[in-house]
Symmetry: none
Subunit: 206 residues, 4 copies
DNA sequence: TATGAATGAGACTTCATTCAT
DNA sequence: TATGAATGAAGTCTCATTCAT
């Protein structure tokens, strides 16, 4: 049985293994502490089977993470595409980011903004896997968002594209920083935080 | 021999061990992959000595990280205090952030904005160590910065304190996102990125 | 491959590990000083294999000892059963005791008489393993011996059962004390010692 | 400060170390699990001090045990000497044996009868320490006891000396076997057990 | 003389990887 | 193809012993 997903082709067992790993991580396992036995059990395959499809544990986990990032980004793109105005899309992005962070497996967010690559799973960095494709996709979403904003006239056309991208990313990051330490922001709920983030973007882009 | 540093008291060997660990991390070691043997060698002490001062490897590394965060924050505060205008302080913050990220050990940045707590060294989370003190110190620096901005009249007094803090954090985060993927921002150098980040902050706060 | 021995079921490797341990002990290793590496080598298995079958070294060694006691007792019972008169059986017991002591692994004797439980492998005591089954089996052999003695008329029926058991155990212990310090009993050989032990039993029981 | 005790000369610290070790053992520590740190603490001396008086941990513990055996035997001799008839002496021996076993540190008993040398502290065996002096002392006590028995006419003069010694040792061993598994001898108390042991000795020697 | 901080060999145990079935 | 029993390298941690004070 062959599956075609996100431009890549995976075999049945391969996907089972990926899902097993993602499950473990979503349940709170630390990427660095996962064992092959755990993966085999979570994926319902034998330990040996994993080595039929991958060369090392590191490769297995890394590819699972990349697979998941890919899926997350495609899902995110689909969800964003359903909104057709600037504000709707921006809030959808915040929603997505918030959900991912709550799930404790923030691959998208890692890419979206800060610090991500330095804490990323070593193997990926060492293998110099080309993560730029993901960044490119996200950048494209931001550019699409900006374009809609211009068309609607909700944001101005001043400043260059680099400034505009920074403005969007910065605004989203400000929201992320709220999410990450919600308990320290007494007196502000998540909706207000979203509103503030949106206000930030609007002011920065006008 | 006893040393007093940042309100805490450490013994000579304890500091040697901390420094050994920080060195390893700054040289690129992953926090989760460091071994006790590596620490002993890096700190120039015997393996057993580490266990004279700490109970487990996890405790040792965690305390070294906390020690380093503490030092980084204090150093940062000192450097920022040397500048006395809003713009000078803001750029100093960006400098500090940039240097930390280049050093591959971005403890301050972990706290400053995104994702930090979810990938933080497990032991710290399990021990429920009170990290709020660090956040509080950073928050205070941001508030001090805002105050100077108001006095200088370079930023307006509109918006509540939460919005203002988000504006500063978001602007800094936008710069961080530039640093993290410099190679993808062709045609923009670090100084320009700083200028854009500053422009972002000013626009958001006026 | 599965083996059934003495009412318990063991797997091939498990038995190899038991045999490896018993071998070490019989060659003079002290129970408290045996290392896992030694066991692995002696059993011709990998170190890791031991932990596939047992949780700790203590558990492993303890179960090996119990396994051996069980075997020794069953073997002893079989040998004794081949003799059908009182004297034959008594001398067979002395033979068994002597052989075990020469083998330096005197599990039966540990139970038979003195001191055994206070120096027994700690884990067994902590686990409160039911050693009473072994004692019961030995007690039964002694009772069977006494019965034959009565039937033959070689011993009298005076005294209660407690006294009679003590008489047998004491006589055997006296022989053990000879074995243990043969070098101090100049001028007496093992056969004479057996005769004296037998005489002791007979006199005590008439 | 110099002390003279039992023909040997010990220095103050040496005795403190011995006492520390004996204390540990009497409190239930396994001879094979005692650490030098524990000894130092129990003896109220520094770890280094132990190595000023002894070369290795094994030597230290072994000598402490020998020292204790010596003391126990001398104490036993003194106690036995206070009784002047056969029966009194025999029961005193049983008392001593019972007390030692209850104390979990049955050095005398180890020597008295069974199995002792095979479970004895390895170092002693390896160093081929001359334990015969202890055996000789015990043998002498037994001979003294027999002599008194003859004089009193409570035991006959039949049988050679080897048989007579075996009779005494066997009778005592039978009592030890009772002590060691008191819980399995329901319906018999310690006084009755002593009486049975005595009866055993008398019958064997008449 | 007496101490205990420091050391590192070596113990137990885990787990990535192999390979016979 | 798929498995999991088996392995042993390498990890964490303990503790006998040393030595500067």
């Amino acid at each position: 049985m062959i599956f075609d997903m996100n431009d890549a082709i995976y075999r049945e067992k391969e996907l089972a293994i990926f899902d097993g790993i993602i499950d473990l991580i979503k349940k709170g396992s630390n990427v660095y502490s996962i064992t092959v036995s755990e993966i085999a059990k979570s994926a319902n395959v034998g330990k040996g089977t994993i080595y039929d499809y991958f060369d090392t544990k590191e490769e297995t986990i890394s590819k699972a993470i990349l697979y998941n990032i890919d899926n997350e980004i495609e899902d995110a793109k689909d969800r964003i595409a359903l909104k057709d105005d600037f504000k709707g899309r921006y809030y959808e992005m915040l929603d997505i980011v918030a959900e991912n962070l709550k799930n404790k497996f923030c691959t998208i967010n890692m890419l979206l903004s800060v610090g991500g690559f330095h804490e990323f799973y070593e193997y990926l960095v060492n293998q110099r896997h080309d993560i730029s494709q993901y960044i490119y996709k996200i950048e494209q979403e931001i550019d699409k968002l900006l374009e809609i904003g211009f068309e609607e006239g909700v944001i101005g056309i001043g400043g260059n594209i680099y400034y505009q991208r920074m403005a969007i990313k910065g605004s989203i990051s400000a929201f992320i920083s709220y999410i990450n330490m919600e308990e320290y922001w007494q007196g502000i709920d998540i909706d207000t935080a979203m509103d503030l983030s949106y206000k930030l973007a609007i002011k920065a882009l006008n």
